[in-house]
């Protein structure tokens, strides 16, 4: 089966249109061409019959039948004339280029005579158009054109010496000139063939050209997009699409890349919180186990150091004691980090925390020629935070920045500001129940550390689950079942299979069906069921005002972070400082920011420096 791709549909539509237009054009053109040719022949025939009439008029008046006969005969030999004859009004052929028919009488019922003689009394005047007739000769089926020219009675006719015609007679007889159409018909056929060939060529050429452009502008980018979406659906979030195009597909590619970036960030945060939680448990268990053997090493080595006699022994033992103490410090920092102490939060001045953090590291920074710039927005609202932890976050970031700058000197700029963000993409949905009051919250599948909302999806005989992102409007939903959007799916409570679909409602953004669940005590949350649509509405929360955040930015012009390291920087024990660091600094920062319901983001270009941006909600 041929797949009905957009490109193919578009090409077919354009091809059919082109075919129709060119066919109509060709038919009209052929018809008009033929008519023109016939009109030309007709004009020619009328002209000839007028010429014959004029050239024989004098001989008629002079009553010189022999001369008339000769003129007719000679004219009849012309190639463009098939036959000329003159008939009297009774139908008797008096002169003809064909000698054999002279003296015979034509039947007045034949098609050349019936125009006038079909009525009684016969017509005396005939329209120019009606004088011509087309007919086919029976023997070779080639067409001929006949022209009848009436010979009207004139004063000179009845006043002439021969007195052949009385004055009362109106029509004396007719000229009948017949011309062959073989040449014209050949011309018509040639024109017809030319037109058909042209039309066919035009249709094929246009189809090819349009096909090429559709392929280039639509099919190929759409294929890339499709391939990328399939990769992303398969879990590979590193896949990006070329976003250099300036059209809508370029915009789509940019949005797509942005979406995968956001998704991978969200996934990173999720993994991060998992890691930290397990690290906490691990650390507490391991610290006790490690500290006991370390006690053995440290007590014995320090005892030996005290009792060592030679300088060499002392030097060696001093190394052991020093390094064991370093181990002790690492374990201690690990425990400090993993300690599940709840932060002591109260409304605090972030600018004060920044100033204190700077004062702690100021000396160290000035020694290395690092200049610290502070752009602190005065009168910031006081967020409810643990000021000590905030200070710890800033000291960590400042020390990192200073390490990134190294001893060559540089600049760190600190900025604080307040910004207002809409609740969309920020407020968590903490409760979700079906109409029969079953809990939809799933603690197993988490987004960014927060539980998801589980909904059963049934489509024909396939069944699966979708997990809705519990941050309102962030739409990092995970669809377990790859649904064909044209098929109608059911969205059900996993417990009681009550449908969650909203009857007679559709997504205002994409028109897909909507599902809804209750989030007590804050009313209902509505969500679009289509995979690619991020639409959500939570009226109670939308009605509440936007939330304020304090944004703190720490920017340095140091060595930056390599792109392949960016996703690892918050990992515990990931350190680029070698023996200098324990690799816990940024993990601690992440943990603290997370415990304040805040977010942290980093932008970094190797060689250009890094910028860490922290957002903390003013109200917890």
């Amino acid at each position: 089966m041929i797949r009905r791709t957009v490109g193919r549909k578009l090409t077919t539509a354009v091809d059919v249109t082109v075919l129709l237009i060119i066919s109509v054009f060709a038919i009209v053109n052929i018809r008009s061409h033929n008519q023109n040719l016939l009109a030309e022949v007709e004009r020619h025939a009328i002209q000839i019959s007028q010429t014959v009439k004029s050239s024989t008029e004098y001989d008629m008046l002079m009553n010189e039948p022999a001369r008339i006969h000769e003129t007719i005969r000679r004219l009849g030999q012309e190639e463009s004339i098939e036959r000329i004859r003159i008939m009297n009004k009774a139908g008797k052929i008096t002169y003809s280029s064909d000698d054999t028919e002279i003296g015979t009488t034509v039947d007045l019922g034949t098609e050349s005579c019936i125009r006038c003689h079909g009525v009684e009394p016969p017509l005396e005047r005939l329209e120019m158009k009606a004088r011509t007739r087309l007919f086919q000769r029976p023997h070779d089926r080639s067409g001929s054109l006949g022209v009848i020219t009436p010979i009207y009675n004139e004063p000179s006719c009845w006043t002439a010496a021969c007195h052949a015609h009385p004055q009362s007679q109106t029509v004396l007889g007719v000229f009948d000139v017949v011309m062959p159409l073989a040449a014209v018909e050949a011309e018509m056929r040639r024109g017809q063939i030319e037109m058909i060939v042209f039309a066919a060529t035009a249709v094929v050429a246009l189809s090819l050209i349009i096909g090429v452009f559709v392929r280039r502008w639509v099919s190929v980018p759409v294929e890339h997009l499709m391939a990328a979406t399939q990769h992303v659906a398969g879990g590979d979030l590193s896949r990006t699409i070329d976003e250099t195009r300036a059209d809508e597909l370029g915009t789509l590619a940019r949005s797509f890349n942005q979406m995968t970036r956001k998704l991978s960030e969200a996934r990173l945060q999720l993994v991060q919180s998992d890691k930290l939680a397990s690290l906490g448990r691990l650390a507490a268990g391991v610290a006790h186990e490690i500290n006991n053997p370390l006690t053995g090493v440290l007590t014995y080595s320090s005892l030996m150091l005290k009792r060592a006699r030679t300088r060499e022994e002392q030097e060696d033992l001093r190394v052991i004691v020093r390094e064991t103490i370093r181990c002790r410090d690492i374990v201690k920092s690990l425990l400090d980090f993993a300690r599940q102490s709840t932060p002591r939060k109260r409304a605090s001045d972030i600018n004060e925390a920044i100033r204190r953090a700077v004062s702690v590291v100021e000396r160290q920074l000035s020694l290395h020629g690092v200049v610290v710039e502070q752009q602190l927005q005065p009168d910031l609202p006081h967020p409810v935070v643990d000021a000590n932890q905030m200070e710890q976050v800033l000291v960590n970031l400042l020390v990192n920045a200073a390490d990134a700058i190294g001893s060559k000197g540089g600049r760190i700029s600190l900025r604080s500001s307040v910004l207002t963000l809409s609740p969309v993409g920020v407020v968590p949905i903490k409760q979700a129940i079906c109409p029969k009051r079953h809990n939809l919250i799933d603690n197993e599948v988490r987004f960014d550390g927060k539980p998801s909302i589980r909904i059963k999806v049934r489509c024909d005989n396939e069944e699966g689950f979708m997990h809705l992102d519990s941050v309102y409007g962030r739409a990092g939903h995970r669809h377990g079942l790859l649904l064909d959007e044209r098929r109608k799916a059911q969205f059900l409570c996993p417990e009681c299979s009550t449908s969650l679909l909203l009857e007679n409602r559709s997504c205002p953004r994409c028109g897909a069906p909507l599902l809804a669940f209750e989030s007590p005590p804050k009313g209902w949350v509505e969500t679009c069921t289509r995979r690619a649509c991020a639409w959500q509405r939570w009226e109670e929360v939308d009605a509440s005002s936007n939330r304020e955040y304090i944004e703190i930015e720490v920017r340095d012009n140091g060595c930056g972070i390599a792109h392949h390291d960016l996703h690892k920087i918050y990992d515990p024990f990931h350190s680029t400082k070698g023996a200098k660091g324990t690799g816990l600094g940024l993990a601690v920062v992440w943990g603290i920011v997370d415990s304040h319901n805040g977010s942290i983001a980093v932008q970094s270009e190797p060689g250009q420096g890094s910028t860490f941006t922290i957002r903390i909600p003013v109200l917890p």
């Binding site: 507490a284 610290a287 006790h288 186990e289 490690i290 500290n291 006991n292 053997p293 370390l294 006690t295 053995g296 090493v297 440290l298 007590t299 014995y300 320090s302 005892l303 150091l305 005290k306 009792r307 004691v321 064991t324 103490i325 002790r328 201690k332 425990l335 300690r339 002591r344 204190r356 004062s359 702690v360 000590n388 200070e391």
Partner: protein, 269 residues
């Protein structure tokens, strides 16, 4: 009858027991060991010691349970609590439960001997010595017998060294104090000292807060600390973080009369 050993060490790790025994042995102290809380209690019933060094996490009991059980049986031998999971809460709680001092694992020989020496000296302080040192003033809150904190009318807090601790050092050679702006945490070290015998000591901080002013006088003349521990021998003036929370773990003079809550001095050997 064999003379009673000086120290009982209780730990579920053999290497720790051996290490502590070896160091104390080198310093001329006799040591007995027990590998579990129950074994420790049995030893305690059989003979008396000048000092007990007990781990907080034992196989059968935890250190707090051991301490409570020993006190319930009427044994008031001073206890040093060691732990591999040395959180600030554990340290504070140990002192609150009546341990004379704490020692986080792992430790060096000097650190061990500093604590042991201090504890033995402390235990050797007779009741009359203790009386001579005087009761703490009413506004003073003590963290065990290690350090004290006193609120000032303006909301700042003075912190200092408990006179028993100072006396147990038997002469302070030098003291290092943190500069203003440092954040001190209850249960963590707030000052490093060297005693006259050259051993290193750490003073546990009684209240969390930020240093406003270290007492330069005390740094210049460490003897002030011994002479006037509650007065001019104060160490820091701090701005407390959450005084109410910190004070929950400290005892004032009125509360100290309850022996269950705060069983003080150890038995004389």
């Amino acid at each position: 009858m064999k003379p009673s050993p000086d120290i009982l060490v209780i730990d579920d790790e053999a290497v720790v027991l051996q290490g502590v025994a070896r160091i104390c042995g080198c310093e001329g102290l006799s040591v007995e060991v027990a590998a579990s809380g129950r074994a420790g209690l049995e030893r305690l019933a059989a003979s008396s010691y000048r000092l007990i060094i007990c781990d907080l996490m034992l196989g059968d009991l935890d250190g707090f349970e051991f301490l409570a059980e020993a006190r319930r049986r009427g044994n008031h031998t001073p206890v040093i609590m060691t732990t591999g999971h040395s959180t600030l809460q554990n340290a504070v709680r140990s002192l609150q439960c009546g341990a004379i001092d704490t020692l986080p694992k792992p430790f060096t020989a000097d650190e061990l001997m500093a604590v042991v020496g201090r504890a033995l000296a402390h235990a050797a302080l007779g009741d009359c010595d203790a009386r001579a040192l005087g009761d703490a003033p009413a506004h003073v809150h003590c963290l065990g017998q290690v350090s004290w904190a006193a609120t000032e009318p303006v909301g700042t807090v003075l912190i200092g060294m408990h006179p028993h601790f100072a006396r147990a050092l038997r002469g302070i050679r030098s003291i290092d104090l943190a500069p203003p702006g440092t954040e001190l945490l209850q249960g963590a070290s707030c000052a490093s000292l060297t005693s006259a015998d050259g051993l290193p000591h750490e003073l546990m901080c009684p209240v969390s807060g930020k240093v406003i002013e270290p007492n330069a006088e005390a740094v210049a003349h460490p003897s002030r600390i011994e002479e006037d521990a509650y007065g001019s021998g104060w160490l820091y003036r701090i701005l407390p973080d959450d005084l109410e929370y910190s004070l929950r773990f400290l005892t004032s003079r009125l509360e100290r009369r309850d022996p269950q809550e705060f069983p003080v001095k150890g038995d004389q050997p």
